[in-house]
Amino acid sequence: MPHRTIRARRLTIASAGVLSLAALVTACGGGGGGTSAAPKDFKYLSVTENTTTRTALTTLSTSTCKAENDALPLKVETIPQAQLDQKLQLLAGQDALPSMFAAGNAPALTKQLAKGGKVADLAMELERLGVLDQLEPAAVSTIKALYGGKLMALPYEYNIEGIFYNKKLFQENGIAVPGTWDELLVAADKLNAKGIQPFSASGAQGWPLTRLISGYLYRSLGPDALDKVDAGTAKLTDPAYVKAAEEIAALGKKGYFGKGVGSIDYDTAMNQFLTGKSGMFYMGSWALANIADPKQNKVGAENVGFMPFPAVKGGKGSIDQYPSNIGLAVTLGSKAFDKKTGAWVSCIAKNFGSTALKDHGTITGFKVNTPVKDSSEVAGTVRKTISSSQQNVLWFEALFSTKATTISNTSAPGLVNGSVSPQKFMETVQAALGSQ
């Protein structure tokens, strides 16, 4: 074989090798999924656990928002909530965030994304589309409280939190609806003495327990109790804050949460309450969907009542200050927010409130433009409470970093089963707050 031919063949092989390596490296890189061009679909990255929002959006895509869907088809992708933060960071790093996505598990991540210019300024966009007035002012104020004064999410849910109680068990045991923390303790004591578990709560999730701490803090120290921690003017290790953890730990010490609260998951806790095995259940108004479902609710929707977190004697807070949230927040990417996306958002703002309430019994932060009858008395009570609520507060981890949120949730079972002291619990969470 002539020498030149051999050299040419080697060159060809070497070039092919380099090209294939380049192709491999390019494929491994993150540039492929960028959204610099106009989006071809209205992609929504949802968490697997939240079925309501994506089902309601799918309903809209085939009914009221069909024209918008024909122009930009809705495409839903799901991911388990536990993996959401990692996925968002990965997509953001590749500049490939979809049109709409479930915001991170802690508001801190969304704020970070916004700082990098990756989240749409919804106040401006909704104003431009002329639909800003379709959002309930209370929901807007909750979102702004969470995201540093900015409207960074759509209120696909709007929930208030309080204590659902079993009216029948209360009546049978001569218990009046508690208005103060001391009365709540007496009620729990009475139920416990009759062999009824006073509270059901999920320690596996952790947050249903820490919500009780923040409830006590808001009643004892006032609605700015956790804002002060965020601002650094107060610490969770201050005696007044540790006192809240002590009160919740005392409930656990008395066995009011039942056995093995740390292993109880969300569904089991809900099931305990809805089958009459426990008397009280601290939860958000999203539980109304479960309460309205006769397959799940064996005590009957008519036997479920709703009360605010009780007052603490001498406390600065008031029982009409409800913890509120917008559920698993959903936000919009800035790059993909074009005219067609705007048309979708506009249609959602006008119609989502009615659809979600009618089809799923879910209360949202959008206006209900088509009147819908409440599914039960307790649902009516909650809706009235929401519309008359004057001041809302957040929850324990609302202003925490992701790290402090995780540590707070995973340490909560130890607080109520006695393996972690209240002082140590607060110290651990405070240390996590300070470390990032």
Binding site: Q89, A92, G260, T268, S411, S419
Partner: protein, 294 residues
């Protein structure tokens, strides 16, 4: 064959692609990770130099101390447990069950092929206290004892994890050590028996020294595997309660991918690498000395 293996170009052609792939997917990320350990930031905000701050933080972080202590404690106990249990099973196969050991060997090996998540769920159910007591608590109740919330405290959760990991891996070590035991020549055992050695004396003076090389290999396998424990902890306790059962690997994962502290996560990864290296070197030195002696 000698002509091919003696030719440098042939060696390069044979080894080159594998070496290139290894460099790309192993060495480059390792060096990259080392670089990250001197930075602060994440993929959203970008990275900037942070000097040695991540390493000084490692020294002061109580969570790292707890995770390191947990990792070492877990590695020592599980290594001892799985090698001893595996060795006892191997002895059982060779000296008692003999040719009838196939069924028992298969049964003991079965947990090795089960997915970790399935084993984790199985043990959660076995030791659960709520909403219904699991078999272990039911047994306690049958003897008039109170149910125990095994996953409620770090110490009891730790022991459930230990039992689970020894159970699921001892079959593997039994097969590994069985291979070493069947290699011992029958004549040696026979002559020892003729000299009056039997039972424990035979095992202590003849079987144990002759199976030492494969025992040391098992130890190296086991130590390296247990220092890097991740999946079984995530499946059973997810590091809880609190951070009571969080090993270094899980803390590294949380720091990097949950808390978005890639630089700090990389520093923890480096710490784990150093620990693995030191322990491997120590075991290697001991095994080399013993091999020479034997």
């Amino acid at each position: 064959m000698h002509r091919v293996l003696g030719d440098r170009r042939a060696i390069m052609i044979l080894l080159g692609p594998a070496l290139l792939l290894y460099t790309l997917i192993m060495l480059v990320p390792m060096v990259w990770s080392l670089g990250y350990s001197f930075t602060k930031g994440n993929s959203i905000e970008g990275f900037k130099g942070n000097g040695l701050a991540n390493f000084t933080r490692l020294l002061d972080d109580p969570a790292v101390h707890d995770a390191l202590w947990f990792t070492l404690k877990y590695a020592v106990i599980v290594t001892a447990g799985q090698v001893i249990a595996g060795y006892l099973l191997a002895l059982l196969y060779v000296f008692f069950l003999k040719k009838a050991s196939a069924l028992i060997r298969t049964l003991a090996f079965f947990p090795v092929i089960l997915p970790t998540v399935a084993v984790g769920l199985l043990f959660q159910k076995l030791f659960q206290v709520a909403p219904q007591p699991g078999p272990v608590n039911s047994l306690l109740n049958a003897f008039g004892l109170e149910s125990i919330d095994f996953f409620g405290s770090a110490s009891s959760a730790f022991w459930v994890l230990i039992i689970m990991d020894i159970w699921r891996s001892m079959g593997f070590y039994a097969v590994l050590l069985f291979a070493g035991l069947v290699d011992i020549p029958d004549e040696v055992l026979e002559s020892a028996r003729l000299d009056g050695a039997s039972g424990l004396r035979l095992i202590r003076h003849i079987v144990l020294p002759l199976s030492l090389p494969v025992l040391m290999s098992s130890l190296i396998f086991s130590v390296n595997g247990t220092l890097k424990v991740f999946d079984s902890v995530v499946a059973l306790t997810n590091g809880g309660p609190g951070n009571g059962t969080t090993p270094l690997t899980l803390y590294m994962f949380q720091s990097s991918f949950t808390y978005s502290e890639y630089g700090y996560g990389s520093a923890i990864a480096l710490l784990l690498t150093v620990v693995c290296l030191l322990v491997s070197l120590a075991v290697y030195r001991v095994s080399r000395r013993d091999n020479t002696e034997s």
